[in-house]
Symmetry: C2
Amino acid sequence: MITRMSELFLRTLRDDPADAEVPSHKLLIRAGYIRQIGPGLYSWLPLGLRVLRRIERIVREEMVAIGAQEILFPALLPREPYETTNRWTEYGDTLFRLQDRRENDYLLGPTHEELFALTVKGEYSSYKDFPLILFQIQTKYRDEARPRAGILRGREFVMKDSYSFDIDEDGLKVAYQKHREAYQRIFDRLQVRYVIVSAVSGAMGGSASEEFLAESEVGEDTFVRCLESGYAANVEAVVTLAPEPKPIEGLPEPVVHDTPDTPTIATLVDWANSANLPQFAGREVTAADTLKNVMLKVRRPDSEEWELLAIGIPGDREVDDKRLAAALEPAEYQLLDDADFARHPFLVKGYIGPKALQANGVRYLVDPRVVTGTSWITGADQPGKHVVGLVAGRDFTPDGTIEAAEIRDGDPSPDGAGPLVSARGIEIGHIFQLGRKYTDAFNVDVLGEDGKPIRLIMGSYGIGVSRLVAVIAEQHHDELGLRWPSAVSPFDVHLVIANKDDAARAGAEELAADLDRLGLELLLDDRSASPGVKFKDAELLGVPWIVVVGRGWSKGVVELRNRFTGETREIPVDSAATEIASAVSGGA
Amino acid sequence: MITRMSELFLRTLRDDPADAEVPSHKLLIRAGYIRQIGPGLYSWLPLGLRVLRRIERIVREEMVAIGAQEILFPALLPREPYETTNRWTEYGDTLFRLQDRRENDYLLGPTHEELFALTVKGEYSSYKDFPLILFQIQTKYRDEARPRAGILRGREFVMKDSYSFDIDEDGLKVAYQKHREAYQRIFDRLQVRYVIVSAVSGAMGGSASEEFLAESEVGEDTFVRCLESGYAANVEAVVTLAPEPKPIEGLPEPVVHDTPDTPTIATLVDWANSANLPQFAGREVTAADTLKNVMLKVRRPDSEEWELLAIGIPGDREVDDKRLAAALEPAEYQLLDDADFARHPFLVKGYIGPKALQANGVRYLVDPRVVTGTSWITGADQPGKHVVGLVAGRDFTPDGTIEAAEIRDGDPSPDGAGPLVSARGIEIGHIFQLGRKYTDAFNVDVLGEDGKPIRLIMGSYGIGVSRLVAVIAEQHHDELGLRWPSAVSPFDVHLVIANKDDAARAGAEELAADLDRLGLELLLDDRSASPGVKFKDAELLGVPWIVVVGRGWSKGVVELRNRFTGETREIPVDSAATEIASAVSGGA
């Protein structure tokens, strides 16, 4: 089909919009792909909608290829199912809530686990009906605290969400693996550069949840990877490579020292280095030799009560809030305030040590590096006093370990293959072995071969479809504009008429008709604007193949430019249509 | 592509759902096309979604064919534009309103006139940019007071809404006509039986607004038509064919009579027939000889005050609330209550006449049949008294006419061609020469050829896309199930394996593969269920071509049934694939 620029609903902008910070946002606005309607709310103009639909189609094809069946739920949903799973409350301010004319509560769906679980419960009743994968490509709503970067983080967005239902763990693993491979095919077809990172640590097993992150400097997600082994993970998911336990025999007994004016790790280290401590003879004391104890209060979701929790980590590291939150989830936590300290006089602020914690029954979790046989400088539970040589496994015994300390570039990879380096990414996909959270909530059972009920096990899998428009723009642009991969470009060919001569115009129209007949989607710049304006627009819009009918016309040639690779060549008019078609089908 | 019933996410139901009243609702639930999630909220299961998408595609093709360009707006919209046009308030309880985390007001879009007008204002600035037609196929929200009949009137639904922008009335008329013809092509392709009815009367001209109504007994819209001329209109839009005025000379003077106990038209007619009135010598008095005066109070949208309004209509007709509301729009009205009558003692309940109304300055509108020279029995403004022979144009002069009386089967068509008959329909499309309401609200001007600003003129055009699924089901079904027209059927062919013999099964699989290779969308019933169960399901699902591999297999034939027409024939196995493909492409 031929789309004429003279009729296309499009006005490109010369200047970057004032509120746009990231390149994709600037370019998608300037090139007339999207327009802002409100904070985090965008309309799709003709070019943007074409890209969105092409991405949707690729996602759909690959989902159907793994046997997933498409259905479609409303976005407007009643409160009750989300009440049952507690997400009505848990989602907090991120959930758009509203009432209808009868004052019944509704929400705008952020994801649809509840509805899928209930629908399968409604239709299926036998083990024979499984495995089952259902998906939808649907508009979702989240009231983000900081909608940003255009459609990278909008409040209304298009998502592909799918859910697998199986009668056992093995089935779930198969569905998970199918999705993992389908996602790889999808992102490969879209020419997105991405990494797959472990998204949760320990408890559920390494492969239970992975994120697909598009590599991008403007990404909000930080991840780490080991270039030697290919290991990659969210910082929340990194498991600390703990040293081996050491023998306790022969270690000096702990000694309490007066350490006036040492409320911080830095002042404590200064004191230690000036104190000529025999343990450190011949080497400098560093913050890594100290153990700091961070006091929290923690509340479980099913409880009203806050419990004390102490976290011991080497003094050279900070607590990473995201890692801490992930480690404590689903419990919430707060730091202790002055009133809390006043209520617990055994907590001597700045000088808290393991002894008082354990004597008073405070739950005490430590960094995995605090293994048996390690010796620490830490608080002595009296103002102005620290203890030197307190040995884990002898002088104190933690209640367990916790992954709460920050990850740093150069830390060893959990697989031991080399150092970790950090990078930034944009989450484009998430696959998750969800388990029975939702089937338990709604008692989703089917009859097994033996006539006994089986509780179904679910996986949930998402792709940010509208976000991908921005992600691809973010990874594929230059200073002149967008550069779409062929698979998602709004058009196959952008034909620019840059010669006002009547014969050239007529020839260009003929070439356009030929390309149309060959099945190509064609954008024809038939405007009366100057060649310079047309070239600028062609570069901004980013269609991968640009054909120019220009000065060469009289010599019997047209120019074929590849916007994606930058190559340019002249081709004879006579064979232009077939040469262009073959270039297009060869890929950008 | 081959879809296997053994894997398809589908459970058909034997019984009608308890809450379903209309056939389409019952069948779409029973056949597993849709499921209810909440009042007026439905999920689309695989078969339903296939039909919805096929309808969308036909709508899209015909819109693109008239040069319309597709864009897509959010459903979640900020309050401000709707505040500007007053629709934030006017929509009343039908609008879903909500707040975000910052307590800013939002709505779920019921239609998008505001956003389209603002978007065109944002992009275009010259008369050269027009004509322009934009459209979207998008999810809309209306908090209906009585969601009913499944997806016939849902609260979340898919609509195609388009908007034309022109610099003059002639352009608008062209865009309107293009839409009218596109809609005819769409509904013809969908095999919907429909009529086009005038949707508003008089003031704006006959063609300014038309509705496409699908003929259906379960429709909520009543319309009338003249079988002789093809005239059709909403009852709100019917213009009464008024008689010619008559000469006044020679008509008897009015006489006031004691008419005790005649507060109703029926008692008044009885009295008149027993009173031997000279005017009616030789014929019976009927209710049509009386003039009843209905008292209302009316308030304009820009006013706080209620004004009295009297409506005089022949006593044999009731006021039609919808026609009255349409005639008074945008003003609202109420009937007078006892307190109102107490405040205006000149209104003698049951005996109100034109004299007291006009003497007290009450605005008085009459039915168009009350022409000059007609003589009436009506109230004499005293308890128990009526006047006989009160002549319009002599004894009282109305302030105008109003189309408020009911339309009855047999009434003359406005074009004089014959009698009107009424029918029921479902609104499936609406085309509307909107004018400048929205471009005035947002000052949408472009520069004309003379450099002066031109205020754009708009048309708005809608099709209820998801509703059409139910409308087609409503028009095409029988007692056994659905019967889809080929253009929208979820599959081209439903192949039933009704023979357990291994060779027959293998042959059916081979035939399925052949049909797949011929590009047909195939539903293959490969379940282990009995032939009876499979046939029932095939009839319920309603795919137009049903192929049965059954007992005939050993004789080398399969059965080809047309679910749409009911025809059945045997075809030889050897040529089955090509014969089926040719039957399918020939249409159902």
